[in-house]
């Protein structure tokens, strides 16, 4: 579409699911104002949460426990941290690991000594332990051995660590699992979802990681002091500017991949919030000088941080090369005062849609929301799903309507030749060995009998074929009575009636599927940065890099903290 000749729409529509819900686009999403980390820090700042550390009982070997409390207007939450002395041969990020450098639980309130004693018998065991409804999450982290040693030895020697080494790794510890929502006996999400501070998605997990980052900084400083004292020296204090560059790392593999498919209603809410935000900004009739200035300043700072984004993986490298070229084009476009005149943001977006790679388009979409907190931040309240995912099937729906719904929303799936071995090359299953999702080769392994329902396109196409010969006036209830095997797929079709962004419109078992697209999409909603795929099925990211620490929140209420060269620095 030629933006110069296109008629100006009376109303800017939402981008249609056919455009948004493609894996190539979802796999190019970036963090935004509506990402869960940023929602959390906005609330902690706006409500002036207080933080303290009532316990820090760690010995010279780095073993012990600590408690970090966050006090809000109505309730307090505490991260109970256990630090361990982990022999190198036991350091593994895999789900089957049995020991970690540090283990954590987020406690609902402020724990007593008895609570801590109980947690000390369970949290270090992770999956082999049990927690109670007083705990909201359980997690663990391993050190980046290389950076940890560099920082401890530098500080112990009385000088600051090297900034390039800090940037090359980006974190001192990486979480290898954060379990919430009832796992290992913790409180169910439903039990806490009505609390304002936990209503947005994943706020428990984000708070846990945020407090973990504060603990890790204190722990590395403690270990530096211990080492310096042994040598009869005085350790340097880690420069706050360097400390802020450090995030919490995370290596995410296939375990996370099925989430978006398994939570269609929730996924719809996330996408709908972001798309509505884009629609609102595109619909603005004009841009004020201040908005333009702020956008341009953020553009430069986001561009600078993107320039530092490195990935060793060929897939991401290619995307980055295209993104860099896109940013040059954008800079050129923006330098010609293109934001003046009518509907400037819509013009900018439509220009991007024509000229930029998908990675560049989505980078811009996230950035376009930045100057407009007053306009879009309220959408955060709509991102949680309050209805159970497993809504009742509408048994009264006539099959003629079901057919039409499938033809309208799964047209892409009906076009695929599912008999082609390449179309159904993969199988999602849970391995007995690791008890987490895996992706197998259907035609080379005997895993099909264990297939998880993670191929909605194929399953709905099978359902559609099964409707052959049924009278259109017959109901879903009658059909399911004879074909209960189609219940799962049929429910999804009905969910899409209410939630058009609930389904990824791509083949999730194709030979050329890139699971990292699923991971990247979810992690972008978390607010992760520095996506660095290590293969087609796992990705390393960083969380809370550049965020103010709890003790800095009150003084540094910068909503743009995520951009390292952002305003107010």
């Amino acid at each position: 579409m030629d933006s110069s000749s296109a008629p100006e729409p009376a109303h800017i529509p939402l981008r249609p699911p056919q455009q948004v819900m493609r894996l190539s686009r979802l796999g190019a999403f970036h963090q935004s104002r509506l990402s869960f980390m940023r929602i959390l820090l906005r609330r902690l700042t706006a409500e002036a949460w207080r933080f303290d550390r009532p316990v820090f009982d760690i010995d010279a070997q780095g073993v012990g426990h600590a408690v970090y409390c966050a006090h809000g207007p109505e309730r307090s939450y505490s991260l109970v941290c256990f630090a361990h002395d982990l022999p190198p041969e036991k350091r593994s990020d895999r789900v089957i690991a049995q020991a970690w450098d540090a283990t954590f639980a987020l406690f609902d309130g402020v724990p007593t000594g008895q609570d801590i004693a109980r947690l000390s018998r369970n949290v270090p065991l992770q999956e082999a332990g049990r927690v109670t409804e007083r705990e909201l999450s359980v997690s663990r982290a391993n050190r980046s051995v290389r950076l940890w040693e560099h920082v401890v030895s530098s500080l112990a020697a009385g000088h600051q660590p090297d900034v390039d080494q800090i940037d090359a790794v980006g974190y001192l510890m990486r979480t290898t699992a954060v379990y919430g929502s009832g796992k290992l006996g913790a409180a169910d999400r439903e039990a806490i979802a009505k609390r304002a501070e936990l209503a947005a998605p994943f706020q428990v997990e984000m708070l846990s990681v945020y407090l973990t980052r504060a603990f890790v900084r204190d722990l590395v400083q403690h270990m530096a002091h211990v080492r310096a004292e042994k040598a009869g020296k005085r350790a340097a204090q880690l420069d706050p500017h360097l400390a802020r560059r450090l995030g919490i790392g995370n290596s995410t593999g296939l375990g996370m991949a099925p989430f978006l498919i398994n939570h269609p209603q929730l996924f719809h809410n996330w996408i709908a919030a972001r798309e509505t935000a884009l629609q609102r900004v595109r619909s603005l009739e004009a841009a004020s000088d201040q908005e333009i200035a702020q956008f341009l300043e953020l553009f430069e700072s986001a561009r600078a941080s993107t320039m530092r984004w490195r990935s060793a993986h060929a897939l991401q490298e290619r995307k980055l090369v295209a993104l860099m070229a896109d940013l040059d084009s954008m800079a050129d476009f923006l330098s010609h005062a293109e934001l003046e005149g009518a509907r400037p943001w819509d013009r900018l977006y439509r220009w991007a849609e024509e000229r930029l790679s998908v990675e560049g388009q989505e980078w811009l979409v996230s950035l376009m929301l930045e100057p407009f907190g007053d306009l879009v931040d309220d959408l955060a309240d709509q991102m949680a799903s309050h209805a159970p995912e497993l809504r009742p099937v509408d048994g009264s729906m006539p099959l003629a309507r079901l057919r039409l719904a499938i033809e309208a929303r799964y047209d892409w799936a009906l076009c695929i030749d599912w008999d082609d071995p390449e179309s159904a090359a993969r199988v999602w299953y849970i391995s007995a060995e690791k008890q987490e999702p895996r992706l197998g080769e259907r035609h080379q392994e005997s895993v099909e009998a264990y297939e998880q329902p993670l191929a909605p396109g194929r399953d709905v196409a099978t359902l559609y074929a099964a409707l052959d010969g049924w009278d259109g006036a017959a109901t879903v209830a009658e059909f399911l009575c004879h074909h209960p095997e189609h219940r799962h797929a049929l429910r999804r079709v009905q969910i899409l009636e209410r939630a058009p962004y609930a389904e990824i419109r791509d083949n999730t078992i194709a030979a050329d599927l890139l699971p990292i697209d699923l991971l990247r999409c979810k992690l972008s909603f978390f607010g992760a940065t520095c996506f660095d795929p290590r293969s087609d099925r796992w990705v390393r990211i960083s969380m809370f890099s550049n965020a103010p620490y709890p003790n800095e929140l009150a003084a540094r209420c910068d909503p743009f903290w995520i951009y390292p060269e952002a305003l107010h620095q």
């Binding site: 006996g185 439903e190 849970i430 007995a432 060995e433 080379q444 009658e478 095997e485």
Partner: protein, 216 residues
């Protein structure tokens, strides 16, 4: 054992898959066990005992022949994990007829959560009767008059579902689930059947995430 409701639901869903149920029905079974657990009723136990009676694929032949009353199977016993969701799917039909009967239902307590879902859809109370048991629910609340033995009946020769009824004393609703260690272990064993055993082939083909940075 004290479990979160999400844990119980996931365990029961996986156990149902492990016992050979299709996903859509297994999801319903997990949700049903969760609802029963909230009212401190032995849903997980009933589910376990029913699943242990199944042998490969038998459940698919145990749905009602038609939705015309009474609901029955051609031969054998009616599966509560099909009949329950079918009841909820037939909410509109129930609104018109005012009631329906099911014959020879296995573990009828597993139908109760679906009567509750039906009540929520219709915005009216639904009553369920089998043997000496009488239950009324509006979906959120439940009143129940029964003996423990009826709750865990292996079979109801006749189960009646009626629109209407008056809620008596509300049964307390809990936020946690209690199951015996034996029940937990046996459900876990069934759930385990849904996990693929590792093979040299799958390891070689790199199905795993491989996301381990070890001592880097």
């Amino acid at each position: 054992m004290n479990l979160s409701l999400n844990e119980l639901e996931a365990l029961c869903r996986r156990a149902a898959v492990g016992a050979g149920l299709h996903w859509g029905l297994a999801e319903e079974a997990g949700k049903a066990a969760r609802w029963l657990a909230e009212f401190d009723l032995p849903g997980a136990q009933a589910l376990l005992r029913y699943l242990e009676t199944l042998s490969g694929g038998s459940v698919l032949r145990a749905g009602p022949v038609s939705l015309e009353a009474p609901w029955r199977v051609e031969a054998g016993r009616l599966c509560p994990l099909i009949a329950g969701p079918a009841l909820c799917d037939s909410a509109e039909r129930l609104a018109k007829s005012g009631g329906l009967e099911m014959e020879n239902v296995c573990f009828p307590v597993l139908v109760l959560p679906h009567a509750a879902a039906t009540a929520e859809i219709l915005g009216e109370c639904v009553s369920l009767d089998w043997q000496a048991l009488h239950a009324v629910t509006d979906g959120r609340c439940l009143s129940l008059a029964s003996k423990q033995t009826d709750l865990l009946s292996e079979q109801a020769v006749s189960l009646t579902c009626r629109l209407g009824g008056r809620l008596g004393r509300h049964r307390a609703r809990h936020r946690r689930a209690c199951v015996s260690a034996d029940c937990f272990d046996r459900l876990s064993a069934l759930a385990h059947r849904s996990f693929a055993p590792a093979t040299a082939q799958s390891r070689m083909l790199g199905a795993g995430s491989g996301c381990d940075e070890g001592n880097q």
